[in-house]
Symmetry: none
C-alpha cells in the first residue's frame, strides 16, 4: 500500500528509537509491542528486528539514546563550577536532575522507573556504567556537607534521603504525561514549578544534613535536644 521512499537508514532508525522511547515509557518493556512502536514510527512490524535485532536490544538503545540526550540538555552539574559553595552545587545538581525528570519529551526517567519496579535486567549494565559515576559525585558532595566525622554509612543514608525526594514528586512534575489510571498529585502541589520543588528539596535536605551533622558532633539524647531547641 503505502510505498515509502528510500530514506537514509539512520533516519528510520532514529524514528524507531524515538517511538520506542515513547512506548516503553508509557507501557514498560513487556506491555510495549513491536506493532505499536512501528506504527508510531511509520515503519514495518519487522523493522525492529531489522534495525535492532530484538526488542531487548531496542529497549537498551532507546534508553541510552534518551539518557544521552537528557544529559546533554541538562548537564548534571547544573552548569556550576566545582569551586562554587557546596550548597549551590547541590542545588545545581538537583535542579538539573529535576529538569531531566520534568521534561515532558524525555522518557528516560519513566523507563528507569518502570525498570526499577519491574526489572528486566536489560538496562542494568547500561545504567550502572552511566549512573554510578554521577552517584559518586553526589556522594562526595554529601560527604563534604556532612563533614569529616561522618561515617560512610551516614553519607549513604543522606544521599538516599536526598535522591528519594527527587523521585517522589515524579508524579507531580509529569502531570499531563501520566497514564489515565495514575494517581493525581494533591491540589496544593499541582502548580509548583520545577524550581520551587528543587528549592524545597534542597532546603529540606540541607537542614536534614545539618541535623545529622550536629548529632554526630554532639551525640546527646537527640530527641530531647531537638525539642528544647524548638521550644525556646
Amino acid at each position: 500500500m503505502k510505498k515509502r521512499i528510500r530514506k537514509d537508514a539512520q533516519e528510520t532508525r532514529g524514528r524507531l528509537l524515538a517511538a520506542a522511547a515513547e512506548v516503553f515509557a508509557e507501557k514498560g518493556f513487556w506491555e510495549a509491542t513491536h506493532a505499536e512502536i512501528c506504527e508510531k514510527a511509520q515503519a514495518n512490524t519487522a523493522s525492529v528486528n531489522y534495525h535492532f535485532g530484538s526488542k531487548e536490544n531496542l529497549y537498551v538503545e532507546a534508553w541510552k539514546d534518551c539518557h544521552a540526550e537528557s544529559m546533554k540538555a541538562h548537564p548534571p552539574d547544573g552548569g556550576l563550577s566545582p569551586d562554587a559553595p557546596p550548597e549551590k552545587r547541590l542545588y545545581g545538581r538537583i535542579l538539573a536532575f529535576m529538569h531531566r525528570i520534568a521534561d515532558p519529551d524525555n522518557h528516560e526517567i519513566e523507563i528507569v522507573h518502570k525498570e526499577m519496579a519491574n526489572p528486566t535486567g536489560l538496562l542494568m549494565h547500561a545504567m550502572h556504567s552511566t549512573i554510578e559515576s554521577e552517584r559518586q559525585t553526589t556522594l562526595a558532595l554529601v560527604r563534604e556537607l556532612l563533614g569529616e566525622n561522618a561515617s560512610e554509612q551516614a553519607v549513604c543514608l543522606c544521599e538516599m534521603s536526598l535522591m528519594s525526594q527527587c523521585f517522589g514528586p515524579m508524579l507531580h512534575l509529569r502531570r499531563g504525561k501520566m497514564p489515565p489510571g495514575a494517581p493525581r498529585p494533591p491540589a496544593p502541589l499541582a502548580e509548583l514549578s520545577v524550581e520551587q520543588l528543587a528549592n524545597h528539596i534542597v532546603q529540606f535536605t540541607l537542614a536534614g544534613i545539618r541535623g545529622i551533622r550536629e548529632n554526630l558532633n554532639n551525640p546527646k539524647k537527640s530527641s530531647k535536644r531537638r525539642r528544647s531547641r524548638r521550644g525556646e
Copy 2:
C-alpha cells in the same frame, strides 16, 4: 473424580488470593498469568475466572487482602497514643510503615510499587479509600511539627519529602526478594535494620522540617544563613 467437599470453595479462594499476591508482587499485573497463579494455588486454570470473574478483579481483591493483613500486623499509629509527643508519633508511624515495607511475607508494597510505575488504574479506587485517611493523619502530624505559620503547600511538600524517603530504601529492605536483575543496595546500607533506617529517616526529616520552619519564621536569604551557621 476426586470430589471435593463444599467447604473447600472458600479455602481455594483463599489460596488463590495468597498465590495471586505473591505472583502479582513478583511480576506485576501484566506479566503475571493465570497459569502461574493457579499452579501456585494448586487450583485449576479456570479458577481465577470462576472465583473472581477476571484477572483484574483478582488483582484488586488480592491487594485489598494484603493491605488489610498488613495494616493489622503493623497498625499505622505504631501503637502510640495520640497524646504522645509528635516526634514520637512520627517515629511510630514511620517505623510501622517501614515494617510493612520490610515484611518479606507482605506483598502489598511491591504491588503498589509496580502499580505506580506501571499503572493499571485498577487499584486507584481501593488504594485511595484506604490510604487517603492515613495520609491525612500524617499531614496533620507534619502540620503540627511545622507550626501554625506553615502554608498548606509547605505541609504537603514536607509530607512528600518524608514519604519519599520511606519508599527509597525499599530495595534495601527487601533484599533476597528482588528479581535477579534488580540493582543491589550499596554496601554500607546492606546490613541496616528496619529500626536504623526508620531512625535515620525520622532524624533527617525532623531536622528538615525544623529547617523549613525556621525559614518560614525568619525568611532571610536562606543560603547565607545556612553558611554562617555551619561556620560557627
Copy 3:
C-alpha cells in the same frame, strides 16, 4: 464457529500424534508446521502446545508412537524361534524390517530417514534406546554366520552391508507414498514384493558373508592385493 463436542483428551492427543507422524514424515521436522498438523487433526493451532508443550516434544512423541506400533505389528524376530538356523532367523529379521519399511501407514522410517539426513538431534536419545538393542541382536547373528575367526570389525562391516541394503530400496517399497519430486525406482524393480526384496537381500548377504568368511580362513584365494595386504 465449529464448536467441538468435548472429547476425551486422549482422543485429541491421539489425533494429533497421528497427524504429526504423517506431516513429519512427509515434510521433515523443519518444514512441518503446527498449522498443517492441527488442520489434519481437526484441532486448534494452539493444540500442539497445549497437549505436547512444543513442536519438539510432539516430534519425539510422534516418532515413539509410530515406532512402538510398528514394532508390535512386525516383531523384529519375524516370529522365528531363537533355535531356528541362523539363515532362517536372518531372513525373518530382514523380512520384518522390510515390512516395517514398506507399510504405507507406518511413518517411522521416513521420519528416521529425514532425521538422519538432516539431524535435529531430538530423536537421538529415543532412537538409541530402542534401536541399539536390536542392532546388538543383528550383530550377534552376523557373528554367528561369520564364524569364530571373524574380527569385531568384520562383523560390523557385514552388518553395515546388510542394513544398508535394507535402506536402499526404501524408495521402491514406498511407491505411492513418495513426494512428487522423488526419484522413481527403475522399471524392473517397480513390481517386486517385499518378500522378493527381502529374499534377494538375504541371499546376497549370505553369499557375501560366506565370501568374507572363506577369505578369513583361507586368505590366499581372493584378489592378489587383498592377500598381500593381510600379510599373514
Copy 4:
C-alpha cells in the same frame, strides 16, 4: 562507496556458489537461508536473487558445480581401462565413488543425501541427466559379473545392493563434518580408511554376486545348498 570493478561479478557468483554448496550441504534446502549463504560469501543479501534469480535456482547451480568438480577430481572409472578385468573395474568405480563421498571439501553427496530424504524435486532433472549414464555403466559391469543367464531384474537388484552399501557408511566417512546431533559410527569402524571400506564393499559384493550367479545356474533349494557349502 566502495566501488567494485566489473570483473568481480563473476567472482562474486563463484563465491556464492561455493558458499551455497557449503550451507545447503550442512542445512539442506529448507533450513538454508539467503542470509547465511550471503554472509559466508561476503555478499549482499540481495545477491542470491540478483545473480541466480531465486534460492531454487542457486540450489541447482550449486549442486551442478559441486558435482562437476567432484567428477573431475575423482573420475568415475577410477582411472582404469575398460579392458581391465571386471573385478578391478568394479573396485576402481567403487573406490572413486567412495572418495567422492569421503572428500570433506565435496558437498555434492550431502546435498544429494538431504535431497533424497527430503525431496524438493529441484535436483531431479539435473541429477538424472548426469547420474543415469554412470548408472548404466555400473549396470553393464554388474551384468558382466552376473553372467548371461541373469535377468534384468537380478542385475538391478545387485546394483542396488552394491550402491546401497556405498551410501551406508557415509556417516563413518564424513566424521567431523556431521552436525552435532548426528549418530556416531560404531567404534570398530571409526578408523577405517576409504580404501578399506571400498575393499570390504567390493569383496562382499563380488561374493554376493557370485552367490546369486550360482543360484541362477543351479536353482536348488538355496538355503540347503548354502548350509552344506558352509559345512564342507
